[in-house]
Symmetry: C2
Subunit: 297 residues, 2 copies
């Protein structure tokens, strides 16, 4: 275990450089083509720990596509608002390391805060207007925190591929945009949502839910299933479908932050549903804010 755990950027760089120099040259084919699972491919799964089956699916995908896989575990203070759950965010390092070992991860980067944000750190990466809608309305500085830490982690890790979950759909879209705009090297791979047996999207925050809240939280996935059914039956009116979705959430006692139908790339709201339109919901069940989404098919 201790050999897999890496605490400093310098030690991580030493290892990754060794792995990458075993493969093809830097950025080979990085513009518009898939570098594929070349000899020097390094897959990266950035996480905040509290790992679950969703994270595991990212690690497995990385493992399948890249000869080397790095997971980072860092609860990033800059992506939490002042009234949010940074302090009580679940920290389960031992179990996380076990899961990484089982998944065959080569290095788990667990940096101290001052390794990520050394004295004098003062750079921010912002993506807008993509970050100002949906979750950005309720969490104004959240995405700047995400893009800044992901950009820095990309710099420290230097992966060829990076893996994100579709559950945080807007986050994945924002990362894709940042990577395109700054011409960063890693190919971004977005993996399907992993769900509990009853349909609830996996999330580290699910463990905040009481038994009753856990039951009511099913309204998110049930609402999205119902919306898919209506779309399958011919409904194309986005406003009608999102209003029904929000109503279904409220009936379960959820406070709805949004229920939206959007273009899958720029997340602009759409008026007419079509195959590929993404439905996104954010709702609070008690004190816990949950996300889910579904791409209409």
């Amino acid at each position: 275990m201790s050999e897999r755990l890496v605490a400093t950027a310098a030690e991580l760089r030493r290892r990754v450089d060794g792995w990458r120099s075993a493969g093809p040259g830097v950025g080979a084919g990085a513009v518009g083509t898939d570098p594929g699972a070349g000899g020097g491919a390094v897959g990266f799964v950035p996480t905040m720990g509290a790992l679950h089956a969703g994270h595991l699916s990212l690690m497995r995908r990385a493992r399948a596509e890249c000869p080397r896989v790095v997971v980072s575990i860092f609860v990033n203070p800059r992506q939490f608002g002042p009234t949010e759950d940074f302090g009580r965010y679940p920290r389960t390092l031992e179990a996380d390391l076990r899961l990484c070992a089982e998944a065959g991860v080569d290095a788990v980067f667990c940096p101290a805060p001052e390794e990520v944000y050394p004295p004098g750190f003062q750079t921010t990466v912002s993506v807008g207007p993509l970050t100002r809608r949906l979750c950005g309305l309720d969490r104004p500085d959240h995405f700047d925190g995400v893009t800044t830490v992901v950009a820095r982690l990309f710099g420290l890790v230097r992966p060829t591929h990076a893996y994100f979950g579709q559950k945080d759909y807007q986050q994945a879209s924002v990362i894709r945009r940042m990577v395109a705009d700054l011409a960063l090297e890693p190919e971004i791979v977005v993996c399907p949502i992993v769900r509990e047996a009853d349909g609830l999207a996996m999330s580290s925050r699910n463990r905040y839910l009481s038994a009753d809240e856990r039951q009511r939280a099913l309204a998110l996935c049930r609402g999205l299933e119902r919306a898919q059914e209506r779309f399958g039956a011919g409904e194309r009116d986005a406003a009608a479908v999102t209003a029904a979705l929000a109503e279904q959430l409220r009936e379960a006692g959820a406070a709805v932050d949004y229920a939206a139908a959007c273009d899958p790339v720029d997340l602009e709201p759409v008026a007419r549903l079509e195959s590929g339109t993404v439905l996104l919901v954010a709702a609070r069940i008690g004190a816990t804010r949950l996300l889910d989404n579904h791409i209409l098919e």
Copy 2:
């Protein structure tokens, strides 16, 4: 000439990938050590064209240190304020290309604006508080424009080394900070100010000056020389020296934006001068804003 000129990022990437794969693996030694003039080193000199002897010194340094050298020529609209000289900024492409050829540059990247900022581009890289003092007071969005375009150009070019002139001291400090914070690959090399025979710091904007203004512009370098003399004679009071410097500029009919004595890394103002303190001036001679600086020795 046509072979050296590159208009698209895709073509540039093709060439740079070929050069880099001829050398050692990606980022070898990039944390804290100088990768040196390795076989795969690619030096990069980002410019806005209107090249002069200052740029030439950057190209020569890059040429001496790296087997391959890329120069970019792009007048970046995002680093000009709405009332600034973007429209009339000198464009001298033919002469620039000749100079690059003479300097033995391997590729001159002259992208169209939509190659640098394609549709949907929406990412900003900001460094603060370093960008909010000195020039940042008069040009509030200037440095965001610089850091964003430099970050994107670093992504498009993927250099191992990048060369900047000390004449734009604050800019070089901001770039260094961005590169450290985002753990970007290129080593930043800052080259000494190149001056005309009479001492005026080389600048593309010098060609705006009338004969009379050209004469009065010497107050910047003369003022800095006088400050160095006073420091050499034992003066340590920053306020006294910068006040005299500003007065000397005003006597030449310059409008002084600032005359400051600062820490050489974070550009915080200092009260007491010491060896290594940087003196920086920005002043307008007629409609032309000029910069100069000097590190006390």
